[in-house]
Structure formats: C-alpha cells, structure tokens
C-alpha cells in the first residue's frame, strides 16, 4: 500500500510578468525517491523553495503530511529536511558542531542528542572527521555532512536541490549510496538534478520540468515507453517532451545561478 506524503496542486510562482512555475501538480508517495529534472531555469529550485516554505506561492497549493505549506508553514518546517544547492555547512565550525547546532534548533531532546548526532555522522561515513573544521572537508564530505544535518530530526520528506552538482564521480556515488540508504529506511526524498542518467538510475519516479511546466511524469521506464523506445536515454525522453536540447536552454535569467555554481566549484577547489 502506498501513501501520499506530498501533494502539489496547481502550484504557481510568478516574478512580475515572468512565470517561473506554471500550475504544476504531482504527488509523492512515502519512501519514494522522486526526481525533478530539467535544465537551469526550468523552475526546479523555485518549486523546492515553495515546498520548503522559503517562497510563498503566487497561487495553487501544496501539503506535506497533510500540512499546508502556507497555512501550517511552521509545522511543515519541522517535518521536512532541506539541503540547498550550495555547499552550505558552516566552514568555521567542526562537523560535529554543525550537527549539534541544528539538533538544538530542531528541539531534539538533550538526552537523545548525542546518539542522534553520532548515528547520523556514522550513517554518512563521517565519524572520523567529526572533530575537524568543515573548511578542511572535501566537497563530497560537506555534502554528506549536510545530509546528516538535514535528517537529524527524522524528517518525513527530505528535499535535495542538485545534491551532486560540482562533485567528482566518486563523491557523487558516495552521496547517492547514502541517499539510497535513507530512502530504504523510510525517508521520502524529493530531489532536483540536471543529470539525466543520475535521475534514471536513482529515482522511482521523475517529473520532467521545462519552462515552468511539468512536461511529463512517470517512472523512468514509463517515460521511455511513452516515447516508444524503452532503450532510449532520458536525454532523448527530455528532448521529446521539451522539443529542446538541454544544453541550449541556458537563458540570461540564469546568470545568478550559473555564477553561484561557479563560485561553489571554486570553493571546492
């Protein structure tokens, strides 16, 4: 039996005349890894920002575990975890301290705190470097630390915004291995990516976003069959639905995003 944990209905975000997200609807079931794919500027990050209460929607609605993202925003914040696109762990604290501070912010009872922190560090393979300053971590370690941080309070839904951008292939595999473990333990994951092959192997279902719309939605297999070629790559599927190649779609609006990604890459060395 599956259970809907995230319901999105006609969710829309406009910035002035520009419609970043155009009346999208979808559901995510418990323990799914749900992928939102699309090029920069497709509306992925805007969607995540709305679902994580950072950005109020222009219209439409969404609920997580039956809590409305606008009306019950403060409750929603308690039941979700979020890892932003940028490597955002605090470099001037140790890995352990990063987790400790968030354990306190999420009201994890003090007698349970140590256990949860160390369980989380262990799960992400970071026990040995917990006492080191985060600025000495590699990009992959920072990302794993952030995931550890975001699941301390055992969220119902974990949001990962481009979790592997800027990581080398080995670090990427490690991150994926850990995300799969989380999902296997019952955490629902909603992630964005613009790596199609990643979405293909990781996600149980995928929404293809293009220019603020959901162009297609389904399991990787369903999507491939829907274009009549079960051996096609997801890139081909995307081209089919968006009538467009990924690379050619970077418009001027994404300058900030691109420069942030570059800054991030620089930070990783």
């Amino acid at each position: 039996m599956t259970k809907k944990i995230l319901e999105v209905k006609n969710l829309t975000k406009k910035f002035g005349n520009f419609t970043a997200v155009n009346s999208i609807s979808f559901n995510v079931d418990k323990s799914e890894i749900f992928g939102v794919v699309g090029p920069n500027g497709a509306g992925k990050t805007t969607t995540i920002k709305m679902l994580t209460t950072l950005l109020p929607p222009t219209s439409g609605e969404a609920s997580i575990g039956n809590y409305d993202i606008v009306r019950d925003a403060s409750t929603v914040r308690r039941i979700i975890g979020y890892v932003p696109q940028l490597l955002s762990a605090d470099g001037n604290l140790t890995g352990y301290e990063n987790l400790l501070m968030f354990a306190k912010l999420y009201d994890i009872p003090s007698k349970e705190r140590e256990k949860r922190i160390w369980d989380s560090l262990h799960l992400m393979g970071l026990s040995d470097s917990a006492g080191n300053m985060v600025k000495s971590y590699s990009g992959g370690m920072i990302r794993r630390l952030e995931i550890a941080q975001s699941v301390l309070h055992r969220p119902l839904v974990l949001f990962l915004d481009e979790p592997t951008v800027g990581l080398d292939p080995i670090a990427r595999d490690a991150v994926w291995k850990h995300v799969e473990t989380l999902a296997a333990n019952g955490t629902t994951v909603l992630m964005t990516t613009h790596y199609m092959e990643e979405a293909d192997t990781m996600c149980s279902r995928i929404a293809i976003m293009h220019k603020g719309n959901i162009a297609a939605i389904g399991s990787p297999k369903e999507l491939k069959l829907s274009i009549g070629n079960q051996d096609a790559s997801l890139d081909k599927v995307f081209e089919h639905y968006a009538g467009d190649k990924l690379e050619e779609n970077e418009s001027g609006r994404n300058f900030a995003e691109v420069s942030r990604t570059r800054r991030n890459a620089k930070r990783l060395g």
Partner: protein, 275 residues
C-alpha cells in the same frame, strides 16, 4: 508516525509560556553558534582593537593638549573614552549585516529559514552575538583607558551597566545593519552604504564633542541618533564625575525602544533575503 518535534509546536501554540521559552532558547542557540565560530578564530577581536587604540592615543592625546573642546569638569580624554567605546561598538556592529549576504550566497540562511526557528530569534541571536564581540572591545578600551590615566569607575554596578549598554547598542546597530543588508541584497551596495552611514552616525553624536557646540540642524540629528544615548549612558557609568545629560532612564528607554522597533522590522525583512 510524525516525528517528535511536531509535539513541541503544538504545545507552543497552546501555551504562550512555552512559546516564549522556545523563542529565548532559539535566540541563545543562534548566539552560541556565532560565539563558537569566534572561539575557533578570535584574531578578529584583536585586530579590531587597533582602531580605537589609535583614536585614543593620537586624537585623544592631541586634543587634550589643545583644549579646543569644552568638556566641562572632565578632561578631554575622560570625555572621549566612552565616545571611543561607543564608536568601536558601532564599527563592530554596523558591518554585521554583510554576514547575512555572505551566508545567503553560501545557502546557510536558507537552511536556517527552513528550520522551525522563529524569525525574530534568528535576528536577535545574531544581534546578541554582535554584543559578545562588542564586550571584548569594551574590555580592551577599559584597559587602554586605564593605561592613559582616564578617571575610570570600577563600581560593580557601573560595570554591569556598561556591559548592558554595550550589548544592547551592538544589538541595535547590528540589527540596523541587517535591515540594510536585507534591502540592498548585494555585498557591493552594502559596503557603499555602510561607509556612507557610519561617519554621520559617529560625528552627529556626542561621542567626541558635546552637542552644545553643534549648529542647530546637527543638534536635531544628534538627538535622534541612538549613539548619543549610548554615549550618554556610557559616560555616566564609566567616568568618575561623568554626568548624564538626558537621565539614565531615558537613555535605556531610548535604546530599548529603538532595538524593539528595529528587531520587528528585521524579522519581517529577513526571509526576503533568499527570494
């Protein structure tokens, strides 16, 4: 099946005492986080001491000799020492907002905003940590003043008063800085504006000369400048024979009211920094 923290928010909604306690707790967690960072790298505190030291040693010594500024019964150095403390608190606090822009660019602010922390606690926690930084300045300036022979008060009540004034002033100006950061949103614009407002705040106050010698229009500005009330209170507490011009009650009230208003504005603007 929901996780444990949902209970707390439900409790907080029913019980205002729990809501207030939660708010205070979160404020201190944010402050703790900043203090931990400072503990890992305290060099900033020492380098910041250079500027007030220069003001006291060069400007203070020279103007004491010149006797150009009417400071009543106090020597010029006695008169200016509290002003320089106020100045260094201002300088610690007024560029504080840039950390929000920096943390926004790193995605740190996003994570705090997604957490169930009250927005005002995010603002006040930051403000409180600016206060902690400012305390270190107060200690350095107190020691420096002692070496220069300023008639310092060592009365424990005065010292407590100074600590309170320093913390609330640092909190006030750092919150003001946060508001500017939330409005301008980029580092470059923030630095420009920071430079532009710091000097008028400092010079349109009673920090290094009495308001009585100012032209009328400047007097008006000085009287709406919170720095004036900070200096007035510090002068009363710090210096033997220092007299409050406006009364300590008024000084405290002015600073606290300004702080409350600025916090409310900042808490409102804070989430917009990630939009």
């Amino acid at each position: 099946m929901l996780n444990d923290s949902v209970d707390i928010i439900k409790l907080a909604r029913i019980n205002p005492v729990i809501a207030v306690l939660n708010f205070i707790k979160k404020t201190f967690v944010i402050a703790e986080l900043e203090v931990r960072k400072l503990k890992h790298d305290p060099t900033e505190l020492l380098t910041r001491a250079a500027q007030p030291a220069l003001w006291m040693l060069v400007f203070g010594e020279v103007f004491t000799k010149v006797r150009a500024i009417p400071t009543g019964s106090l020597s010029y150095l006695d008169f200016m020492a509290p002003g320089i403390l106020a100045q260094s608190v201002l300088f610690v606090a007024i560029f504080y907002g840039i950390s929000i822009i920096w943390e926004r660019d790193l995605g740190i602010v996003h994570k705090f905003l997604v957490s169930p922390t009250p927005r005002a606690a995010l603002v006040l926690g930051k403000a409180l940590s600016a206060g902690v930084r400012a305390i270190s300045q107060a200690i350095i300036i107190y020691l420096l003043s002692m070496l220069l022979g300023v008639q310092l008060s060592w009365n424990p009540l005065s010292l407590i008063g100074i600590i309170f004034i320093v913390i609330i002033s640092a909190a006030l100006f750092s919150t003001f800085s946060l508001i500017i950061a939330c409005i301008v949103k980029t580092r470059e614009r923030f630095m420009g504006i920071g430079q532009v407002i710091t000097m008028p705040l400092f010079f349109a106050s009673n920090a290094i000369y009495p308001i009585s010698i100012m032209p009328h229009w400047l007097k008006v500005l000085a009287h709406i400048n919170p720095l004036t009330y900070q200096v007035d209170a510090l002068r009363t507490f710090m210096i033997i024979g220092g007299q409050s011009q406006y009364g300590l009650t008024f000084d405290f009230a002015a600073l606290i009211i300004a702080m409350i208003i600025l916090s409310l504005i900042a808490a409102k603007l804070y989430p917009s920094v990630v939009r």
